[in-house]
């Protein structure tokens, strides 16, 4: 028997708004499998998003769900986690949401190492608003606001997260669907702020403008681009050019914010 996704989907809320060929649905299925693997209690799990196509995900999921303002998911989620530490908190959103308008909240959540998982669906574009360039759009690529090619250099989300102090950072792709739930499950098991970037595809606003002939071609690019971090060590530098590393890129154990704050509260109260 196949996996029962319906257990976690809100009755009557499908079909979703995503275009045919959009990678977001693949990622949502991965998230559901990860939640299932960890047997998270639906009543004790909050899924929080910002604004964008990716951020529509929580509406379909049968949990405590919060669809907030553009870029602010992590800040809303921080309030939930601080007020109810026993809840599992998962944030989801797009690249524009997470590292453009939400970039400040993102780096500070990394720095605090607050226990939650942030799933960023990076399709290198602002999908919902019709394909304007984002901070992860490749240099030279076409977007509706870069008609002559993108003059901006992009961010590397994983490096940004590591630099800002996140204690678990992983990357996967929408092509490698079977790996998504493994990465997310590891991230959710981790105590602290975990970031999972899934390289995703937006055929509607990015693919067409950048001469991808089909959804399949976009998916194949994700497949060809990805090099497992475990294999990269043994590869010569020229073979790694233009590739992105996937898998668990960084992991360390550091004091977690909510636990540290609770200790502070206990100390203050003991002192009277």
């Amino acid at each position: 028997m196949g996996f029962d996704y319906d257990k976690y989907i809100r009755p009557g809320k499908l079909p979703h708004i995503w275009c045919p060929g959009c990678g977001h649905g693949i990622v949502m299925k991965g998230l559901i499998r990860a939640i299932d693997a960890l047997e998270l209690d639906k009543n004790k799990t909050a899924i929080v998003s910002g604004i964008g196509c990716a951020s529509r995900l929580p509406g379909y999921m049968d949990f405590c769900t919060l669809h907030t303002t553009h870029g602010r998911a992590v800040a809303f989620a921080t309030g939930i986690k601080m007020a109810r530490p026993e809840m599992n908190v998962i944030c989801v959103g797009g690249d524009g949401d997470g590292v453009a308008i939400g970039g400040n909240h993102f780096i500070h959540a990394c720095r605090r190492n607050i226990d939650m998982t942030y799933l960023i669906m990076n399709n290198n574009i602002y999908g919902m608003t019709g394909g304007q360039f984002s901070p992860t759009t490749p240099y030279g690529a076409k977007a509706s606001t870069t008609p002559y090619g993108n003059p901006d250099p992009p961010f590397d989300i994983a490096k940004l997260a590591i630099g800002a102090g996140a204690t678990f950072v992983a990357r996967g792709t929408a092509f490698h669907a079977a790996q998504i739930d493994k990465l997310l499950a590891e991230a959710m098991r981790h105590k602290g702020f975990s970031v999972v970037e899934i390289l995703d595809s937006c055929p509607t606003t990015y693919g067409r403008r950048n001469r991808f002939k089909s959804v399949v071609e976009m998916m194949n690019q994700l497949k060809d681009m990805a090099v497992p971090v475990t294999a990269a060590d043994k590869m010569p530098a020229e073979q790694l050019r233009g590739k992105v590393l996937t898998g668990i890129l960084y992991k360390e154990s550091k004091p977690e914010y909510v636990e540290e704050y609770r200790k502070l509260v206990e100390r203050v109260r003991a002192e009277g």
């Binding site: 009543n43 509406g59 602010r72 309030g79």
Partner: protein, 377 residues
Amino acid sequence: MSNRVAFLQGNEACAHGAIYAGCRFFAGYPITPSTEVAEVMAKELPRVGGAFMQMEDEIAAMAAVIGASLTGTKVLTATSGPGFSLKQENIGYACITEVPCVIVNVMRGGPSTGMPTGPSQSDVMQARWGTHGDHPAICLVPASVQELFTETVRAFNLAEKYRTPVTVMPDEIVGHMRERIVFPEPGELEVIDRTGPTVGPDEYKPYDTRFGDVPPLASFGSGYRFHVTGLNKAEDGFPTTRAEIVQAEEERQLRKIENAVDDIVTFEEYLLDDAEVAVVAFGSIARSARYAVNQARKAGIRAGLFRIITYWPFPERQIRALSERVRAVITPEMNLGMTVHEVRRCVEGRAPVSGIFRVDGEPIGPGAIFAAIREVR
């Protein structure tokens, strides 16, 4: 047992009022002249088992308090001018999602960085219209340290009772002055808690109008699973673009406050029974106005003071009634004319309404108000 007496700053009293009301989560970002609220919360919240967070900016602070409130916690954020501007988008989010929260905005000169340490009363329109779209607003403007305590408690009560953001707006003078305050005993002031659902999780809808214009709000993590979005939504909390639902929901959100004005609107009338000149003022300027009214009385002029305590909803009915009795109305305020327009709207030409406007960082003293009273008489 006698009540505890202290000599406190307004901002400190505000923070203590929040703790009294049951606030257990604060998120903020430092800004003059409101920072003392955060400093006292940082000290007091751990003592009562709550949590204090200094966020990366005011946008994050507003977001964090809304998130925390959804778990059933009473929440506060505090800021001034520039920070109040940054919070506006998420204040709108709290309006449409109907999440209780209290925002303190200690008014300083503006726009922009303006005069960080100078007093002002120029954010009253922002408190009403600062966030985009139609939405209700409750805004309280205390005039003393004691009142900053009690109005903060009332702000929490109104936020929880009506499922809405409530703004407390002392001007910088009220926020920073020191006065004697008598701490109310526990139980002495009314403290209202949120109404939870009376139906089980299977039947629960976050905007279920069967329970009236203020539907009960369940808490995340309590066994109720529901969706919250800033999109226009139906009673089940999910987005909708159905014209009749959007219209009805937006109207209900305004109506829930409009129908409750008798419960919400507060004011103080001083020597108005026989007055021929009425001064309408609030915050620290109402203190000058009271002094000026006393001076006028001594000089044989029948003057009185209408002190606004609840700025939004505006005390329309009371000011309309007042305008039927007096010969002239004066509105001294630390801005270039805001309250004067609201007052004129209520007076509807029944009496001349003049203003004294000052934005130079100096308060409006009794002398200027007394002179204006003499002039209009």
